[in-house]
Amino acid sequence: MKTSVESVVDKVSTLISMPDIYYKVDRAVDDPTISLDQIGSLILEDQGLASRVLMLANSAFYSYPSHVTTITKALTIIGTKQVRELLMATLIMKQFNGVPKDYLDLESFWKHSIGTGVAARTLAGYMLMQNIESYYVSGLVHDIGRLVLLLVMPDKFVEVMQYSRNREILLTKAEEEVLGFNHCDIGRELFIRWKLPASIQTTTGKHHRPGSVSSYNLETSVIHIADIIATCMRLGSSGETFVQRIDYPSWNQLKLNDKVIPEIVQQIEEQYKNSLSIFLEV
């Protein structure tokens, strides 16, 4: 029997799910009658999450002059929508703690994810986009489909890795040739089932084919370029060896001058180190 994207996601849904706290915070943030304090108490239900939010508020990302000690204060500094998104990324990452470690260097996988997130955030900053945090989060989870494959079918995952190595082809192409679909399809389907924002479904699903989207074009283009920059900078690895082909229409969409790339790379380097300590419990 041939496996399909749906059957893979069906199977993973029996193993992991998005925790309720995300949906509670999601509703609370959109509800004008709910106060910051109330959102804060929701987050405090999960001590681990609460301390992560505080670490973030105290990080160099925001360089707030005094130490932030309460969640409510953190919410005012980072913003409620931004906290909701960071919460989403943290919870998604947490769901995959139990992935078998024998087939893929997980630390390196998350380093690539964080690198892509930081690169996306930096690019979005240069582009003067609103809510640069959403770009960060899209970058953090863009390759999540690989971890789903690893959870559901570790043997196939290894087969795909070997196939790509032996033929010296892109891992994404190897996925398509061996499985009939790729990690982007899986990630997108998972996020649809989890009812996560449409933008993140698209960036996750299309970051290797940014030219094929009809909405969230810019977001998808940013993740495509950020992924490539993180790969070039050798910030971890998602299992992919090669630098995927740059989609020039996507790059042009960003309306950035080539000359800013060295500066962007330098900023990514600095923020990446900071971000590692927040998201990787070392």
Binding site: T231, C232, I246, Y248, I261, V265, Q266, Q267
Partner: protein
């Protein structure tokens, strides 16, 4: 004139052009001397490039290939050639990223 990235902006530099955020709200007036508070505001609003008055040395683009061992550099180039096999290296962006890749591989291997 010197347009500098935020991480090169230091306290005491003079802003040459008005600085706006993404919603076109004025953050800093031209002529203002940068303070610690200004740096924080710029960071919070994700402003990355600021036009600063003259007399600033902005020749700080990273090029550390000359301080890297030539042999390590050569090997790093070979590796990067392999990693970039799906890119034709005909455009400036590809060249920039390729060079960054060489540099990063070389840095890792010199450690």
């Amino acid at each position: 004139m010197a347009i500098l990235p935020l991480n090169k902006i230091k306290v005491g530099m003079i802003v040459k052009k008005d600085v706006f955020d993404h919603k076109n709200r004025l953050l800093l007036n031209k002529g203002v001397e940068i303070s610690h508070r200004h740096l924080r505001i710029l960071k919070t609003w994700g402003v990355n490039l600021i036009d600063i008055e003259d007399s600033i040395d902005n020749n700080q683009s990273p090029s550390s290939s000359d301080i890297i061992d030539p042999d390590i550099y050569r090997k790093a180039r070979q590796k990067a050639d392999f990693l970039f096999k799906f890119n034709k290296l005909t455009r400036p962006l590809e060249h920039l990223l390729f060079n960054i890749c060489v540099q990063k591989i070389a840095e890792k291997n010199s450690k």
